[in-house]
């Protein structure tokens, strides 16, 4: 089970702050593809993924129990 969180535009698009995915393991690339398929307009090419509060690369592997966050382009400051 993988926990995912949504923020800002993605929280509004999905209508939720977080959910869980019933997967043992998947790559960041697969997670982004899952999100794009599940939520049309997700914009996977502009979204970063953080795994356990650190930015991950697309080929990184997410394991069951990991906590992931979709990070749309940041705009702090």
């Amino acid at each position: 089970m993988i926990k995912v969180s949504y923020f800002a535009r993605l929280r509004e698009l999905t209508g939720k702050s977080d959910e869980t995915i019933e997967q043992q393991s998947m790559t960041v690339r697969e997670l982004l593809e899952w999100a794009e398929t599940t939520y049309p307009g997700f914009g996977k090419d502009t979204v970063h993924v953080a795994v356990n509060e650190e930015y991950a690369l697309k080929e990184d592997v997410i394991q069951s129990g990991d906590s992931c966050a979709f990070i749309p382009p940041v705009s702090g400051g």
Partner: protein
């Protein structure tokens, strides 16, 4: 206060300045970023900021560590406010002390640039006739977001 924090209440600059001040500091720079009413001719009513709080605080601390590495002797405190903010409210404060002024200026500017690159905070502008989450439609860099 924590030296690197996300807060939901108005930012009081004094406590961050006091935190970085010490006997070896010959210079303190304090940057405050405020909510601006007009952007490219469009009037902002208010801003709404959101953050992935635990990661945002970690990334602010990482920026502080990068500054200490690049400008030895600096002491840093950074706070970013989230929630609804109105015109002239302080959204972010960066306080930097240093033995000499040049490092305090340079490190302070470095901090705001890095905040805009790596800290998971988002700003929504609300106008009279609409609203939008800001953030460039940047392509995902293959080497990852941390790459400079």
């Amino acid at each position: 206060m924590k030296p690197f924090e996300i807060v939901e209440t108005p930012i009081e600059p004094g406590k961050y300045t006091e935190y970085v001040l010490h006997a070896g500091a010959g210079a303190v720079t304090v940057f405050t970023g405020h909510v601006r009413e007009w952007t490219h001719g469009i009037r902002t009513l208010y801003l709404a900021y959101e953050a992935y709080v635990p990661m945002a605080e970690k990334k602010l601390a990482q920026i502080g560590a990068e500054m200490e590495g690049q400008w030895p002797g600096v002491k840093v405190a950074i706070a970013h406010r989230i929630g609804e903010m109105h015109i002239s409210d302080i959204a972010v404060i960066i306080a930097v002390s240093s033995p000499h002024r040049k490092a305090a200026y340079e490190a302070n500017e470095y901090a705001i640039e890095r905040i805009k690159e790596i800290v998971p905070i988002w700003k929504k502008e609300v106008w009279e006739d609409g609203e939008e989450w800001l953030g460039g439609q940047k392509k995902y860099p293959e080497k990852g977001i941390e790459q400079k």
